[in-house]
């Protein structure tokens, strides 16, 4: 009994010391709070595949009422900004080449005539494919505008009521805003980078400063060191995740569909896995420099293969297998699905247990290493 109390006291002392080391200095306190929120804001605004103010050029070879009407539809959209009207299609090349416009709307001679005859008229959309994703998205916006024009035209000309072929409904994100999927994903990504680095540094710093030996000659046991190192890093991680969650809700006003209890359950397991990875790296690194480099070697593929910026299903089979060992993959799924879809625990199980496994494996290896790698 006294042994348990003693053990608890030692762990508490270590936790207190760790938190003190992180939070005492105003600079390091700020470094725990400010960068995650800043990153969340910048990425929330910048990391978006949604487009607006896309500069486009018009080549109106028809110069008819109908063509003006079509162009007016484009001008009325917040997505597009007309920056040039060209009379000569040959001038277009220069504009696209020099990135003045991303997209061009080419209305050929006879457009109005064809429409008046009840025929189908075609317009050409030319996009700068240097960034194929942006071009793709811009083209789909253009298609939506032309659909709108069609509907208007039919109505104005007494044709059968507008009848789009497709009626689209998007689940969970009705306006298909990238930000809605990006920011819940950032909860995991930013928290991973910060907590893993924090945990990786914590033991490496002690080794480098020689304090680890000092700690090892005290009655504290490796398991206690590990718990005492893991809990503060986890607390910081949960705190940061909460900050990002607050930014998502209060600043970006993304509606939260799920239950906070379930989200936090997932997050706790996730930060445990992240801290486990960090402490594992820490246990194999001898210096802070090494810990940081190992951290980068892990964080880079972890973030690139997380499914946040590009879908996992696009990856080759072998890399998809690798992603199963990536806690961030699960964290992003959990955050997005709880946040946007409001799923329950049963749906999350397939994401929860792999993180528990990752945490268990990394933490056990780290504990073993603490004792056996002290040379």
């Amino acid at each position: 009994m006294t042994e348990i109390v003693g053990s608890l006291l030692r762990v508490l002392s270590l936790i207190r010391k760790e938190l003190l080391a992180i939070l005492k200095d105003p600079k390091s306190r700020a470094s725990v709070i400010v960068p995650p929120i800043l990153q969340c804001l910048i990425f929330g605004y910048a990391a978006s595949y949604d487009l607006n103010h896309v500069p486009f050029a018009v080549i109106d070879q028809d110069r008819s009422f109908a063509s003006h009407q079509l162009i007016a539809h484009f001008d009325g959209s917040p997505v597009f900004t007309q920056v040039a009207t060209l009379s000569d299609p040959r001038k277009l090349a220069a504009m696209i080449n020099s990135r003045q416009v991303l997209l061009a709307l080419d209305i050929q001679d006879g457009f109005a005539r064809q429409l008046a005859m009840g025929q189908t008229a075609s317009v050409q959309i030319i996009a700068d494919g240097r960034d194929s994703n942006t071009a793709e998205v811009a083209t789909s916006y253009a298609a939506a505008i032309i659909n709108g024009f069609n509907a208007q035209w039919r109505q104005d000309h007494g044709l059968p009521a507008s009848q789009p072929l497709v009626v689209t409904r998007a689940w969970f994100n009705p306006n298909l805003q990238t930000r809605w999927s990006m920011i819940p994903g950032l909860i995991g990504t930013i928290t991973l980078i910060q907590t893993m680095m924090l945990a990786a540094m914590s033991v490496a710093r002690e080794r480098e400063q020689g304090t680890f030996d000092q700690l090892l000659v005290t009655p504290i046991r490796p398991v206690e060191i590990m718990i005492g190192k893991a809990i503060p890093a986890m607390l910081v991680g949960i705190f940061q995740a909460t900050n990002i969650l607050l930014v998502a809700q209060l600043w970006f006003r993304i509606p939260f569909a799920g239950s906070f209890a379930i989200l936090y359950m997932g997050l706790i397991l996730f930060v445990l896995a992240a801290v486990g990875l960090g402490i594992f790296l820490s246990s194999i690194a001898m210096t802070m420099q090494q810990a940081m480099l190992y951290g980068m070697v892990v964080i880079m593929p972890a973030t690139l293969l997380s499914g946040l910026s590009t879908p996992i299903s696009n990856m080759p089979q072998s890399l998809q297998l690798v992603t199963y060992a990536n806690p961030l993959r699960y964290a992003i799924q959990i955050a997005q699905r709880v946040y946007l879809e409001g799923v329950g625990v049963s749906e999350l199980l397939p994401y929860l247990w792999p993180m528990a496994v990752i945490a268990m494996v990394t933490l056990s290896i780290a504990t073993w290493m603490f004792r056996h790698r002290v040379a």
């Binding site: 042994e3 030692r10 020689g210 000092q214 009655p219 040379a375």
Partner: protein, 565 residues
């Protein structure tokens, strides 16, 4: 000598060092000095006296705030590059490139100094012979021992036959043998006409110089030949014989507590004492005596005389090492080592760099598994017994190893918690530590920002916080100034009187005099063991020889034997 032009001339030089989150420190205060050409000068003084700052100013690495500074007749502040072209400078931590080999380091500095291939052909052999580094040309600098690193640093600095040598504690943390060798090099250069200014915390080194400059608090206390400084203790130095059943250490402590004693140190089983008043039949004073007299006004630590645990039987064995072996790959760091330490004993482990002292320490503390052999600390093997057994030991590592970003109080509170001290005991012990080690005024300061002496005190306070019956101290006084070392040893004396067992390593051979028994190690083997007197008497014949002479004799003898048939 007065006619020789000055290689260094300082005229009312003042330097303030800016600090983060603190007002600037006055590192040098209106310093004026002059060192003639061809002179070997020592720069001595307590921690924080401004030695390093002065050398950096001379090397043109920092500009003076006020005053004039001429090196080799050049105004340093005005044209630092011309000074840097002509002097050799060796900073405290010489910047060897650890992932370059010995040869590559030498080549780099030869190229930087524009030493031609032909000149190298002449210079290298003599440098390598002087430093005995020839066999290690292809070895990475990072894999050299501490002493060899210092020698390589010196060789790199000497590559261009400089007109002036500026050395900042070239022998700190270096074992007596390497120190001896380094000084042979320096002396040889000096006889060849090189001028040099050498900062050092070894006072016997200052004695070898023609000039000694004593700095304190950024001011020059004295600049004169060492002889003249020694003379300040003329007629004041006597030897006291301890009473029966009293160690020299205990007598020293007793003497230091009397008002008419300036300083006392154990020496050859007796106590060399500097009195405040003239003594009949006084000894010839040494530089150290003079130095201590010069600094006599310095405040001395109060050491509480109330030891905690009472003394019990002295023959109880505290530490038992039998046939201890530790291998790293093919390298045998500790080679069948056996010794035992009795309760309340102060046991010294001495040996050159790389002798296996630290490895033995790490095994004793349970930080490193032994390859084979028996290790018992308070009757237990710390690697096998429950972690709670480690409550019996206090450990002070070679370099400061407490949390630098935490304050003094936070460090103490953390370790009190880790050692499981309960509420009131914890408060009492922290209070004790703050008072005993005079840390109360700096309790809220970041411990990493403390000056070296205070750091050492804090580390010792932490090691003693849980009142361990056993202390392991690995080079606790390395780099400490003579005053701080006196205070340190007084505390050890008190602890030993209280029955605390101490195992300690040191490179200061005069500190061996404080130990009850010593072991001298080299290459992982035990070369000699016994009381300081036994070791000294068994190995040297000449009267007036020091512990250091005995040590060098023992190690060299063993090495010669190992190399022989």
């Amino acid at each position: 000598m007065t006619t020789a032009p000055a290689v260094i001339r300082a005229n009312a030089v003042t330097k303030r060092l800016r600090q983060r989150h603190a007002p600037p420190v006055l590192a040098l205060d209106q310093i004026s000095l002059s060192i003639p050409q061809g002179v070997l000068a020592a720069l001595v003084g307590p921690d924080g006296a401004g030695k390093t700052t002065l050398l950096r100013l001379l090397a043109g690495l920092l500009p003076p705030d006020e005053g004039e500074l001429f090196v080799l007749g050049i105004d340093v502040a005005h044209d630092p590059q011309r000074v840097q072209d002509a002097v050799a400078y060796m900073p405290q931590r010489f910047g060897l490139y650890e992932d370059l080999t010995v040869k590559e380091n030498l080549d780099l500095y030869a190229d930087l100094h524009g030493v031609t291939a032909a000149a190298r052909g002449q210079r290298y052999p003599s440098l390598l012979e002087m430093t005995a580094l020839a066999p290690f040309l292809g070895r990475l600098a990072g894999q050299l021992s501490g002493g060899m690193k210092q020698k390589l640093g010196l060789a790199c600095a000497l590559i261009q036959s400089p007109q002036l040598l500026l050395l900042d504690e070239p022998t700190a943390g270096v074992d007596p043998l390497s120190r001896h060798e380094l000084w042979q090099i320096i002396t040889k250069l000096s006889t060849e006409g090189t001028s040099a200014l050498i900062a050092t915390s070894y006072l016997d080194e200052a004695e070898r110089c023609q000039q000694a400059i004593v700095l304190r608090d950024g001011k020059v206390l004295a600049q004169s030949p060492p002889r003249n400084i020694a003379d300040r203790a003329r007629n004041l130095v006597v030897l006291h014989e301890p009473m029966r059943d009293e160690t020299a250490r205990d007598l020293q402590a007793r003497l230091l507590d009397t008002d008419d004693v300036i300083d006392a140190v154990p020496q050859g089983g007796r106590v060399r004492t500097i009195c405040r008043t003239s003594q009949p039949s006084a000894l010839a004073p040494s530089f150290e005596d003079g130095f201590m007299t010069l600094l006599a006004g310095a405040p001395r630590a109060r050491v509480s005389r109330t030891p905690s645990p009472p003394v019990t039987r002295r023959d109880e064995v505290s530490v038992e090492v039998r046939d201890l072996v530790r291998r790293f790959g093919d390298f045998v760091a500790v080679d069948h080592l056996s010794f035992s330490v009795k309760r309340g004993e102060v046991y010294g482990l001495l040996g050159p760099n790389g002798a296996g002292k630290s490895t033995t320490f790490r095994m004793l503390c349970g930080l490193l598994p032994a390859t084979s052999g028996t290790l018992l600390v308070a009757g237990e093997d710390l690697r096998r017994t429950p972690a709670s057994a480690r409550r019996n030991i206090g450990y002070m590592a070679q370099r400061f190893s407490l949390y630098p970003q935490l304050s003094v109080l936070e460090n103490l509170a953390f370790f009190a918690g880790i050692y499981g001290l309960k509420a009131h005991l914890r408060r009492d012990r922290i209070q004790w530590a703050l008072e005993e080690f005079e840390l109360a005024p700096v309790r809220t300061q970041q411990s990493g920002m403390l000056p070296g002496g205070l750091k050492q005190r804090l580390a010792m306070a932490v090691a003693l916080l849980h009142e361990p019956p056993l202390l392991f101290l690995d080079e606790p006084t390395s780099g400490a100034d003579p005053l701080a070392r006196r205070d340190f040893w007084r505390r050890i004396t008190v602890l030993a009187q209280g029955g605390v067992t101490t195992v300690i390593t040191t490179h200061f051979m005069e500190e061996a005099e404080y130990c009850d028994r010593l072991a001298i190690l080299d290459a992982g083997r035990l070369l000699a063991e016994g009381t300081p007197a036994q070791i000294r008497d068994a190995n040297i014949q000449k009267e007036g020889s020091t512990m250091e002479d005995a040590f060098i004799a023992i190690v060299e003898h063993a090495r010669a034997k190992a190399q022989g048939p």
